[in-house]
C-alpha cells in the first residue's frame, strides 16, 4: 500500500515527465478507472499550482517594492543635486547656460499639516458646516424667542401707556380693611381696582367716549370713573386697531349726560411747534403735562400720529391732546423708549373720519359732536378747570 507521500512523488515525476512510457500509461489507466486517485491528483496540482503562484506573487511584490523605493530615492537625491546646483549656480550658470531650477521646499510640519488636511478634508468641512448652521439657528432662535416674548405693547422700543394697577398692594389693603371690619356688618363696598387703567374723554355730551384701543384690549368689562369717583359702566362701540382708537358708550341707566362739552375737535392738521397739553390719570389723581407738537408723523413715520414732546407715563393713554386755543387735536397713544420724551398721539382728523363713517353707517345713537369751542381767550388754568370734568379713568377688567 502506498502512502500519500509516495503518490505525490509519483505525481511529481508524472508532471515533470520523468516516468517511463509503461509507467505513465499504467498511471493514466488507473487515473481513468479510479476517481479517488484522479481527485488526489487534482488536489496535488492545485496545491503545487497555488504554491508556485504564491511564490511568484511574493517575488513580484518584492520587485514592485524595489521599483517604488528606487523611484522614491531617485526623487530625493535629485533635490539634493538641485541644491548643489543652486550653490554652484553663479559659477556654472554661464558655463552651462542652464537656467537655475526652482525647487519647492516644504517643511516637515507643513507636510504633516497637508497630509492631515488631505485625509480629513471632508470631515472638517462637514464639521464647519454644522458649526455655522448651529450658530445661525441659535441666533435666529434667540431672536424669534425674544420677539415672541415681546408683547404688542412694547415692540421696537414703542411703549403703549396703559397702567398696570398695583393689584397686590391694593388687595393687601382691602384685605386689611376686611379684617378690621370683620366684626361689623358685611363690607359695604367691594374694592376691585381692575387690571389696567387708562384715560378717556368725552366725545359727545350724551355718553360717547374716546380712548386708545390698547387700553381696552382684551377687556371683559369697562368702568369709567370721573374725578368725583362716580362710576359708569361702559361698552366699546367701535375700535380702530391701526390708529389705536376706541369709542365707548356709557350703558348705565341712571346716566344723564356730561353736559355741554367745552372743546371742539379739530378736523385739519395742526402746525409744528404748536403748544399742546394733555390731562390724564397716570396715577390716582388727574395730572397735567404740556409740551410742543414736535413732528407731524408718529413712530416709524406713521402719518396717523403726531409726535409731541410731552412727558407721558403709563396711564396717560387715551388722554386728550389739546392746543392752546382749546381745540382737541389728538389722543395720546404711546411713547418711544429710546428717545427722549417722544410721545405719540393719534391725529384728531382720523378720529373725525372714524366718527363720520360711523354716523354714515347709522349704527347706534347719532353722534352730536360739539360745534364750538368755549375756550377762546381763556387762560390755561381756566381751560383745565373746565376740561377736568370731561376726562375720565378707564378701568379695564379681564
Amino acid at each position: 500500500m502506498k502512502t500519500e507521500a509516495d503518490y505525490y512523488a509519483l505525481f511529481d515525476a508524472y508532471r515533470a515527465g520523468g516516468l517511463a512510457d509503461a509507467e505513465r500509461t499504467a498511471l493514466e489507466h488507473r487515473l481513468a478507472a479510479d476517481p479517488a486517485l484522479a481527485q488526489r491528483l487534482q488536489e496535488f496540482e492545485e496545491l503545487t499550482g497555488t504554491l508556485t503562484a504564491y511564490g511568484r506573487r511574493q517575488a513580484l511584490r518584492q520587485r514592485l517594492a524595489a521599483i517604488h523605493s528606487d523611484m522614491v530615492s531617485e526623487q530625493t537625491p535629485r533635490l539634493d543635486l538641485a541644491k548643489v546646483a543652486e550653490q554652484d549656480e553663479r559659477g556654472e550658470q554661464f558655463a552651462t547656460g542652464q537656467a537655475p531650477r526652482p525647487t519647492l521646499r516644504i517643511s516637515r510640519t507643513e507636510q504633516k499639516l497637508r497630509a492631515f488636511w488631505q485625509g480629513h478634508r471632508a470631515t472638517m468641512m462637514v464639521a464647519a458646516a454644522v458649526a455655522v448652521l448651529a450658530v445661525f439657528t441659535t441666533l435666529l432662535g434667540l431672536e424669534m424667542y425674544r420677539t415672541s416674548q415681546q408683547t404688542t405693547s412694547s415692540r421696537y422700543g414703542y411703549t403703549m401707556l396703559r397702567r398696570e394697577v398695583e393689584r397686590i398692594k391694593r388687595d393687601q389693603r382691602s384685605m386689611n380693611r376686611a379684617i378690621t371690619q370683620i366684626d361689623a356688618a358685611a363690607p359695604t363696598e367691594r374694592v376691585n381696582p381692575g387690571k389696567f387703567s387708562g384715560t378717556g374723554f368725552a366725545l359727545t355730551a350724551d355718553g360717547y367716549l374716546v380712548t386708545s384701543y390698547h387700553v381696552i384690549q382684551g377687556a371683559d368689562s369697562l368702568l369709567i370713573e370721573n374725578r368725583a369717583r362716580q362710576r359708569f359702566r361702559a361698552e366699546p362701540v367701535f375700535t380702530d386697531i391701526a390708529h389705536d382708537l376706541a369709542i365707548l358708550q356709557i350703558t348705565d341707566k341712571d346716566f344723564t349726560g356730561f353736559g355741554r362739552l367745552p372743546y371742539a375737535f379739530k378736523r385739519g392738521q395742526s402746525e409744528l411747534g404748536e403748544k399742546v397739553y394733555t390731562l390724564g390719570y397716570p396715577r390716582e389723581d388727574l395730572v397735567f403735562n404740556d409740551g410742543s407738537l414736535s413732528a407731524r408723523s408718529g413712530f416709524e413715520g406713521d402719518t396717523g400720529f403726531y409726535q409731541v414732546s410731552i412727558p407721558v407715563n403709563p396711564g396717560n393713554s387715551g388722554g386728550p391732546l389739546l392746543d392752546d386755543r382749546g381745540n382737541l387735536i389728538g389722543v395720546v397713544s404711546g411713547r418711544q423708549m429710546d428717545v427722549q420724551s417722544a410721545a405719540f398721539a393719534t391725529k384728531s382728523s382720523y378720529l373725525m373720519r372714524l366718527v363720520d363713517s360711523l354716523s354714515a353707517a347709522g349704527a347706534g345713537r347719532p353722534y352730536n359732536l360739539p360745534r364750538y369751542n368755549q375756550f377762546g381767550g381763556t387762560t390755561r388754568p381756566q381751560q383745565i378747570r373746565k376740561l377736568q370734568d370731561y376726562v375720565f379713568v378707564v378701568k379695564v377688567y379681564e
Binding site: E4, A5, D6, Y8, A9, D12, E43, F44, L47, T48, T50, L51, T52, A53, Y54, G55, R57, Q58, A59, L60, R61, R63, L64, A65, I67, H68, D70, M71, E74, A115, Q118, G119, H120, R121, A122
Partner: protein, 193 residues
C-alpha cells in the same frame, strides 16, 4: 524619467511585460503612479495607502498579462485607474468611515477591469490561505517548501542546506511536508469559503 529610457506604447508595454522585461515594468510603474497617488490622496488616503493600492493594481495587470488572458479594450492607464479605484473603494468601505461619492478626475469607463478584479480577489483569497497554511505547517517544512517552490532552489541545494544525507531523503521529506500542507490548506480554504 529623463533617463533616456525608451518610451513604450501600450502594445509595446504588454509585449515587453509578457517577455518579463523588468525595465518595462518599472517604466510602467513610474508612468502611472502619480495618477493613482493623486486620486487616493484626493479621496482621504495616505501616501502608503496609495502605494499599496497601486501595487495591487499593477499586480492584477501584470498577472493578467503574464497569463496571456488580458483583453485590453482601453488604455492601460484607464485599466489601472479602474482597478485601483475599485480597490480603493473596497479599502474605504473596510475603514467604514467613508460614505458618499468619490471624486473622479479621470473618465471612468467600463473596462472589464471589474470582472478581472473579482477573479483576482478570489485568487487573493487562495493565496492568503496559502500564506496561513505555510505559517502553520512548521519548520523545517516551511523553509523546505519555500526553498523549492518560492525561491526556485534545486533539490540538491536544499539537501545541502538542510543537511540530508541525499537528495532522495530530501525529496521524501518534501512530499511529507506537501501532504501536511495539503491538509492545512484545504481545511482552511473550505473554512474561509
Amino acid at each position: 524619467m529623463g533617463k533616456g529610457q525608451p518610451s513604450y506604447t501600450d502594445e509595446e508595454f504588454v509585449a515587453a511585460i509578457r517577455r518579463d522585461d523588468d525595465r518595462a515594468l518599472a517604466q510602467l510603474y513610474r508612468l502611472h503612479f502619480p495618477m493613482i497617488s493623486h486620486y487616493v490622496l484626493q479621496n482621504s488616503g495616505t501616501d502608503d495607502e496609495a502605494k499599496d493600492v497601486y501595487q495591487e493594481g499593477v499586480m492584477v495587470f501584470y498577472e493578467k498579462v503574464r497569463e496571456g488572458s488580458l483583453e485590453l479594450n482601453c488604455q492601460i492607464k484607464t485599466y489601472l485607474y479602474a482597478v485601483c479605484r475599485r480597490l480603493w473603494l473596497k479599502r474605504l468601505a473596510e475603514k467604514t468611515r467613508f460614505s458618499g461619492r468619490l471624486d473622479d478626475h479621470e473618465p471612468f469607463l467600463e473596462t472589464g477591469a471589474e470582472a478581472d478584479l473579482e477573479r483576482a480577489e478570489e485568487k487573493e483569497r487562495q493565496l492568503g490561505t496559502m500564506a496561513q497554511a505555510l505559517d502553520l505547517v512548521g519548520e523545517p517544512c516551511r523553509s523546505l517548501l519555500e526553498g523549492f517552490y518560492l525561491l526556485d532552489k534545486s533539490m540538491q541545494q536544499l539537501t545541502d542546506e538542510f543537511g540530508y544525507t541525499n537528495a532522495d531523503n530530501a525529496k521524501n521529506q518534501k512530499y511529507k511536508c506537501l501532504v501536511r500542507l495539503k491538509k492545512l490548506f484545504f481545511n482552511q480554504y473550505q473554512e474561509s469559503a
